[in-house]
Symmetry: C2
DNA sequence: ATATAATCTACTAAATATATAGATTATATA
DNA sequence: TATATAATCTATATATTTAGTAGATTATAT
C-alpha cells in the first residue's frame, strides 16, 4: 500500500498539472479544499516536493505553488520515492534505496529475491513510464 | 515494501516445501536457526499460517509443522495476504480488501486510480502465478 | 510419568503514519 | 512604509504498526 501522504501528493500535483499552462501560482488552501486534504498536512507535503525540486513556490500575495518542470517530465515513480521511499518490495532489489537484508546469507541463493525482482521490474515499468500529464490524460478518457 | 514478517513467512515455507516429500514434521526451532528468524516471532507466524489453512502441526515429541497441501498449490499471493494484508497499492483497487478511499469523491473520476489498477494487475499476475514450489525451483536454477 | 514441542496470554519498545497549533518570514501592493 | 497575504519553520500529539520477548499452558509420543 502507498501511504495516504503519497496519494495526497499525487492529487495535489494533479491539480497543479491542470493549471500548469496558466502559469499562475495555486494556493495550498485551494488544493486542500479541492482534494479534501488536511491543510497543514498538505503544507508539509508540498514543501517536501519543493525541496526535492518538483515544485517552486512564491510567498506573499499572489503567491502559491507551481510545477517547476512540464508535467510530462515528472514521473509518478519520482514522486513516490520522495514521499514513500522505496518502490521495491525488499531492500535487496531496490534501485534507489538498496540495502542488504540482515537475515540473508547471500543474494545469489535467496529463494524469494527472484520474485521480488520481478515485482520491482513490473512496478517500475509502470511508475517510471507514467507522468503527471498521463494521470490527467487518463482522467479525461474515463469521463 | 513487504514486511519482515512476510519475508520470514516465505522463508519458513520454503524450508517446509523442500521437506514436503519426506512428510516429516519440521521443528519451529530448526526453521528459526536455518533461516535466522527470531524463534518466538516465527512461532506466531507459523501459527497464523496454520490457522489460515496453509500449514498443519503436531504437538509433542516427533511433532512440528508441515505443509497442508502440495507446495505447487500455494501461491505467494495467498501467503502475503495472510501476513501483510492487501497486495494492491490502494484500498479502492484491492480485490480481497476493497475499501472506499475517504478522500475520494468517485472512483470513476479519480485520476490516480487507473495507474494503481495497473500496478495491482501487474503485481497479482506475478504473485498469483508463483507458487511455493516455484520459489525453490528458481532457487535451484540460480545455483 | 516424563520430556517434548506446539499453543496461548500478555507485554514492550521503536518506528511510522497522520495529523495539529502557533510563531515566523518573505512579498506584493496600497 | 504599513498591511495583508501566503508560504515556512518549530514543536508537538496521537494512533497504529512493526518487530519483537517472556513465561505459563496444553497435547502427545514413548
Amino acid at each position: 500500500m502507498i501511504s495516504k501522504k503519497a496519494k495526497y501528493a499525487l492529487k495535489a500535483l494533479k491539480v497543479l498539472t491542470k493549471k500548469f499552462e496558466a502559469n499562475e501560482p495555486t494556493l495550498i488552501s485551494d488544493i486542500a479544499v479541492e482534494e479534501k486534504i488536511p491543510k497543514k498536512f498538505l503544507e508539509a507535503i508540498l514543501l517536501e516536493l519543493r525541496n526535492q525540486g518538483i515544485l517552486k513556490s512564491q510567498k506573499g500575495k499572489g503567491g502559491g505553488y507551481l510545477l517547476r518542470t512540464p508535467p510530462n517530465e515528472v514521473s509518478v515513480a519520482k514522486v513516490l520515492r520522495i514521499i514513500d521511499g522505496p518502490i521495491a518490495p525488499t531492500p535487496c532489489v531496490s534501485v534507489n534505496f538498496y540495502g542488504k537484508c540482515d537475515d540473508c546469507e547471500s543474494e545469489e541463493t535467496c529463494s524469494i529475491r527472484p520474485i521480488m525482482l520481478k515485482i520491482r521490474n513490473a512496478s517500475l515499468e509502470i511508475y517510471e513510464n507514467t507522468s503527471l500529464l498521463d494521470l490527467i490524460l487518463k482522467d479525461s478518457l474515463t469521463l
